[in-house]
Symmetry: C2
Subunit: 224 residues, 2 copies
């Protein structure tokens, strides 16, 4: 069973620790702030107040035995680098760290962090994209060239089959799913996954479409 250490219990670290613990993972959560440590006390395997730049304290908490370490100790770039070096010296190979800035992230990568995360930057881009392309309810970049978007079925397609709406022929996109308005008797969403070309699109449906970015862009113009 894998063991995890989460170092730094800010908004990011605390949520990582809690999500892992909620999925039955073995988590050692550490922070120098006593209140944050206490907040997690009965929700993770072990929650310890310590300064993560103190190697002895880390070892006493058992951090050297973990398989994965997630480091998110905020403003102090110097401290995060020190902690990273201590973890590497302990032989922990899989280290994930939250970066404060691009420069911080570059340093972390060069020092061997396997995954650097930029939560604020990534969400900011997602939010901005939603403002620039409000026709789409969701926009997932599958690759630099292909995206999956969710959009309300345009009026022009209401009552037509997917084939008659000519989504593949005119727009070059594939409808991978249709979500019907409303819920079924059990309160669950009504999804038509991998719909047939003969399936009809109805007003109120949400369409989930996969296509090349240029084609997706053209789809925006027919909304709503």
């Amino acid at each position: 069973k894998k063991q995890f250490a989460v170092i730094g219990l800010g908004r990011f670290g605390a949520e990582v620790a809690l999500t892992l613990a909620a999925n039955n993972c073995d988590v050692i959560a550490v922070d120098k702030d006593e209140a944050r440590v206490r907040e997690l006390a009965d929700r993770v395997a072990l929650s310890v107040e310590l300064d993560a730049t103190d190697e002895k304290a880390l070892r006493e908490a058992g951090v050297q035995n973990v398989d994965v370490a997630v480091v998110s100790i905020g403003e102090n770039i110097e401290a995060s680098i020190l902690v990273l070096m201590l973890l590497k010296d302990m032989g922990i190979k899989n280290i994930i760290a939250k970066a404060q800035s691009r420069m911080h992230g570059r340093i972390l990568y060069q020092l061997g962090v396997r995954q650097v995360v930029y939560p604020e930057r990534d969400m900011a881009r997602k939010v901005a994209r939603g403002l620039i392309m409000p026709e789409f309810m969701e926009h997932i970049e599958l690759s630099p060239e292909y995206s999956i978007v969710e959009l309300p079925a345009p009026d022009a397609f209401a009552g037509k089959s997917i084939l008659d709406a000519k989504l593949r022929t005119d727009y070059g996109v594939t409808v991978i799913a249709i979500k019907k308005q409303g819920l079924d008797k059990g309160g669950k969403e009504l999804w038509n996954i991998n719909p047939l070309p003969s399936d009809k699109i109805q007003s109120g449906d949400t369409m989930v479409v996969l296509g090349a970015n240029g084609d997706i862009e053209r789809l925006r113009k027919i909304s709503p």
Copy 2:
């Protein structure tokens, strides 16, 4: 042409402002910190140093004319609430705000914020999910019941057609795309979007699969 105001230029706000501006949007960026304001000065339409709780200052900067306001002013919950009320009084309907905590988010929603974002919390869940389900390179929750996952083609399927691999019959999942290893002559990725059942899966391929969560879960067990 839509006008945007971004209030608070921390990691989130600054990136929202820059992404909007890079897409030709008209952005008024404000912050009380002169260094952060200067950082954006030649990259957005207007970058102003001001205290966003000062209505007169907001009006002088032209904020009352924007269509959308993004508020991300950090630690000070009281200040963010004051700013929100000022923006509402100015008649700005589309307000997006970054929340510091769940409680902060609830207050913002009740006060009429259209979209509350939790960048650290959402990214933390994504990172944790990647650690819990390392078999998947990417995991997108399409809905509470359906997900799209990206995974390396399991050895068991190498050389088989999608039909022979029985992904639909045995696992109940749909292969919506296959990414081949390597790049084409132009340096672009090699994608087979909406592959045919007769298309072959090869070792080194990345499969993009859509299915119900329970079926996706079973797919984890055959990796790699």
